[in-house]
Amino acid sequence: MDRVANIKLAVFPLSLFPLADLIIKALENNLGPDPASALTHGLGEWALIFLLLSLAISPARRLTGIGKLIRFRRMLGLFALFYAVLHLLAYLAFMLSWEWLTLLEDLYKRSYIIVGAFSLSILVALGVTSTKKMMKRLGKQWLQLHRLVYVAAVLAVIHFLWLVKSDYTEPVIYGALLAILLLLRARVFSFGRKR
């Protein structure tokens, strides 16, 4: 087994740590008096963090010259999907008591949920097509499709911005991080063209 595989073995459980932490707190009644909301928020925030981490892999590769980092990208992206799905489930189960109709109402009435749902749909599509087999099957289209990850991230930040009541500090920080990642990305494109 090579070193990357070893590190991946460590990163995998590390990525489950936020979930374990939330579960333990939930079991210990330690999520505060409004655990449904705390859990939904926690999972949503981790979905966004993993999404940004997966986007940071390519720039990190270029900056450090460590090409093997690319092997973490898919795993981090799938964790973003994983946390986003749990985020939706937590909302539906604990905040809506499985009232699907209310979710449907949200999906046509509330713009922050609409953009969240678009973001999640993209993550699902990317997750489904993330296997080696799909990569081969889709060929060039695969790259085009997976560029949508930037759209998913932008939508997730908009989702966060639009649900905030008055203190925009957190979504602004995430938005700034995303903007940096997008800028790095854009520079790579323009360098590419010059050469």
Partner: protein
Amino acid sequence: MLLKIKKHSDIGSSEITPEHIYHDRRRFMQQSGRFALAGLGLMLAGCSQEGEAKAISKQPQDGVIPSQPGPEWLKKQVLAFNPDVYTTTEALTPHQVVTSYNNFYEFGTGKGDPLRNAHSLKTDPWSVVVEGEVAKPGRYHLEDILKPHGMEERIYRLRCVEAWSMVIPWIGIPLANILKQFEPTSKARFVEFTTLHDPEQMPGQKASFGSLDWPYVEGLRIDEAMNPLTLMATGLYGDILPNQNGAPFRLVVPWKYGFKSIKSIVKIRLTEQQPKTTWETSAPQEYGFYANVNPAVDHPRWSQKHERRLPGTLLAPNRIETQPFNGYGEEVADLYKGMDLTRFY
């Protein structure tokens, strides 16, 4: 004179646990009685209370309620409250939750921030400016505003616009009694309230990415202000208000969303014009001047049909239906007769 009501505003008995209530009420009465007797000798009461609380049961409600530091004159007046003036049969939200889960953005926007940061607020001495359409304007010591009045305990539901709710035993004075003392003129159609503005004491007022303008301003129509349910609270759970709950002097309007119940008030102005309130100014399509609890009118970003009665657990989130006017329709619905409440939200 006032309402000794237990009937209409009580929600169906299916959601309540009589035993809790019994324990709660009993402990509560004993405590308040003892407080009243003990007067300034609070140390003693504090000790025996602790022993008793441990003995009773494991209910979170029976946790120890620490004595709140504050000026003696205020403690003395608050602790002499008349209990049970207005109650509900619903279980009280535990003291620990009421005092640790707060929206008080002057101390930060996290629910735990007020408890963490509010110690920097100096509540004594405290003065309140009364101005506008009154015969007796001026800057008054809080002591002088409160002195002529008796304190009452009022157990009210509090419904936050974020779709959670609590049941809270306040102690205070009907706002009507306080306003009358300053003799509103015939032109007084609205009451405007302002919270202290002092970023040194209220670090949340320094926040850079916030959308609210300080100081916090709220308002009521004069008939809403004069309604017997409207309370100026100075106490909570048998003691004076903790800072994070809006010490030393705050509004409680139980049929409106929580943000109307402005905290740590330093100015009361009676006006002819409808005041511009803080949330309305920041997002007029989301927060109206009235902000009556209304399950039929959704906030644009979330449904108002249900609420989570805190504290909940994941398996028992206590999700209940929200009542029009937060269940106080019999007392206040008349105030809005003929008004389109979807327009005046």
